[in-house]
Assembly symmetry: D3
Homo-oligomer: 171 residues x 6
Amino acid sequence: MASPDDSASAPRTAVYAGSFDPITNGHVDIVQRSMQVFDQVIVAVAFNLHKDSALFTPAERVDMIATVFQSSAGRVRADSFSGLLVDYAQAMDAKVIIRGLRAVADFEYEFQMTMMNRHLKSNIETIFMMAGEAHFYTSSRLVKEVVSLGGDVEGLVPEIVLRRLRAKVGR
Amino acid sequence: MASPDDSASAPRTAVYAGSFDPITNGHVDIVQRSMQVFDQVIVAVAFNLHKDSALFTPAERVDMIATVFQSSAGRVRADSFSGLLVDYAQAMDAKVIIRGLRAVADFEYEFQMTMMNRHLKSNIETIFMMAGEAHFYTSSRLVKEVVSLGGDVEGLVPEIVLRRLRAKVGR
Amino acid sequence: MASPDDSASAPRTAVYAGSFDPITNGHVDIVQRSMQVFDQVIVAVAFNLHKDSALFTPAERVDMIATVFQSSAGRVRADSFSGLLVDYAQAMDAKVIIRGLRAVADFEYEFQMTMMNRHLKSNIETIFMMAGEAHFYTSSRLVKEVVSLGGDVEGLVPEIVLRRLRAKVGR
Amino acid sequence: MASPDDSASAPRTAVYAGSFDPITNGHVDIVQRSMQVFDQVIVAVAFNLHKDSALFTPAERVDMIATVFQSSAGRVRADSFSGLLVDYAQAMDAKVIIRGLRAVADFEYEFQMTMMNRHLKSNIETIFMMAGEAHFYTSSRLVKEVVSLGGDVEGLVPEIVLRRLRAKVGR
Amino acid sequence: MASPDDSASAPRTAVYAGSFDPITNGHVDIVQRSMQVFDQVIVAVAFNLHKDSALFTPAERVDMIATVFQSSAGRVRADSFSGLLVDYAQAMDAKVIIRGLRAVADFEYEFQMTMMNRHLKSNIETIFMMAGEAHFYTSSRLVKEVVSLGGDVEGLVPEIVLRRLRAKVGR
Amino acid sequence: MASPDDSASAPRTAVYAGSFDPITNGHVDIVQRSMQVFDQVIVAVAFNLHKDSALFTPAERVDMIATVFQSSAGRVRADSFSGLLVDYAQAMDAKVIIRGLRAVADFEYEFQMTMMNRHLKSNIETIFMMAGEAHFYTSSRLVKEVVSLGGDVEGLVPEIVLRRLRAKVGR
């Protein structure tokens, strides 16, 4: 086979960013699938210093992600950032942004964000992956709502998240 | 950096399949973006021996694709296949299928195809990329319809396609 | 005809839950249609003790619903609850949850809620009904917004709601 | 509890109509869920005498449905009809039409059909149910396409359908 | 008020094109609304010489449209054309194309057509209008299907169309 | 040509209302297109006295709009209003409301607003126009978010807005 150019043969790093408040099995599914395509996946908690209304602090969120992927630590890295995603990706030498697509409603927002990110940095590409159908209803928001109303979310989030969620809501 | 596992360090090949009847600048855009993520991209014309009602033969379509990407021949390969896409991808040692997403209407069909393909071969992953906004209206079907009605599609398809389209419709 | 099993011949009770802040003619339409399918329909105001930002109190909302359906009191019951809908439905011996579908935008949220509710209690089923086209634009939110800006919503909400809305906004 | 009116206490019959060419596990899932709501469910193959381009004849389709539900024969009935669905439902003394909803793309078509059916017969109501997420990609059309290309659809259709599909396509 | 420029003060002509096979009350509704915005509305039957599979001939369709709008003959004109819509609009000295929007499913196709039409002739603008909610389910296709199955479409199409439809299908 | 009736030959005024916080090049694009259809376009900042959480005051927003369109001052007018849009339109002697459509997600909200506005004032019509594809991702909200994170929005908003945005966020 013809040798690809240098940029192609270097280790491929992709950033998978989100609020991850908390990480769910749907997110985990996307990370595992993306490891089939990239050498390194950075799972990056995006936070806003001034108006973050998350349940977990950025540090708690990063810690849960690191725990979930500790057996893949050589290829998955947990981190956090504030500011523009494209600036963060560039600083991390990542040329690809991974986004999970679940529903039509996500689609247009994602389309707009992709176009905006290309406007901001044309050399960073966005790819989309679809979580398995078992994760169609596993949004962080819905998980938190169900837990706050006393519902059981076992199977929808990793073990570490299940324990921390229960601790947070005092059940 | 920690060395990724072997499957990760091998050259990455992805298949971008479609009817490409004919290839448009929207398709070309997706191929160029995917070269930022993969070492090799196979642009594969999918055809059906028994009921193909395409304007161009599979051979003509492959030929136009090969012409368009001749300067990237080491990394982009034009081919054709009939049968299941996942079988073709496996035969080509490609672990990733690339799909272009343009509109919400595409999304659900793509979602169903992705789930079906995972059912058929769980080790082949599908990723989605979005063409630039300039290509939002450049579908092969619309291009053919406009040409058949005497409209000009310059700028919407590669030069070689423009010439062949004009030859086909006798203008 | 063969006698259906016991669970089938018992009186059928369904829960139609929502914030109903306030009930509109679109909701009334759904209740009336659901009476063709079920023996008893419980119209249940869902509220959150800690962060309810509704215009009407849960008691006011239940009272308006009871007034609207007073002539069908044997078959329609107004109630309120906090907590998980599936827990409430089970406590009321209802095996079916009714949801109104109006727009595509509702659809995906409803799909996710349905899947989550099945995850929480697999023996409770969700059905969807479509309000008449005359009620396409009659959301509680839009009704409140129009009234607050001085617009007339006669014909969009029941008489009792019209009077109480006017009393609330002091017109 | 107050006794419901007579129309309410009679055995409830609902019609679940479609082309069922062939019935899939997604359809089976909807029938099983609808048995929780209705006493009798008629699974009715809709066909058009003049322009039916189905793979299986109406009789073959009814036969497969009857085989799948033979253990529930007292409550599920397989039948076929041509003409308007509302006329058929009325002839069968069914006041409710069941429709399965899977994707946003279905939604608007279903909305239009529901409004048209109400226009034709206002006393027949349509309800929608959602198949389980495992059946999101199990359309009859996609199943037939995959089989025709040599793919395996075990788990997506009932056993009897799997055998007949293989017999039809000669594998 | 400041005098608008010449192009603005000339009589405004808009083209409302479609297959109109046949015209429905939903189309009529759009024409009537558009008369509030434009001086002249041309209702133009688009046909394809080679592959038109319509129920009515272009001449029959134009004739029905002319009959429906005969009392507004000074402002509404029935016509037919083949070829590109933008070429026809330009030939008729119309700077605006009117499109009816009914459903989300229409939206993306319309978006693509609008962009394509701007690509072909940048000086012709497309505007969209929404038919009344009573016409949400009145598509020409659905009307023909219902009539062919023996259903009544009174109220959904103009009187002249009702008579001609019944004559065509021999009822 | 037959002379149109008086209402048709009078100068046509349309209202294009929104929060315009701030006006973007997507909005400017819609205004320019609408000038091809109407004699006068009123660009009207809608604000709410009690709960406006906008970045710019209504006066600042009107001022930016007036600056952008100063060369078309005879045909484009910047204004602001609170209350119902249909009341404002009527007060301004405008029979048409212009709305920009960008995404499917907008569509249903716009549909509901259109139906509500017709309910409130049946003689005022709403038309929709689509911004160019270059403006697909240029929402006011996204522009503000990017600026607040240090991103560059040159090319997405008019010069005057760019300067004021930078002044507001202190960069």
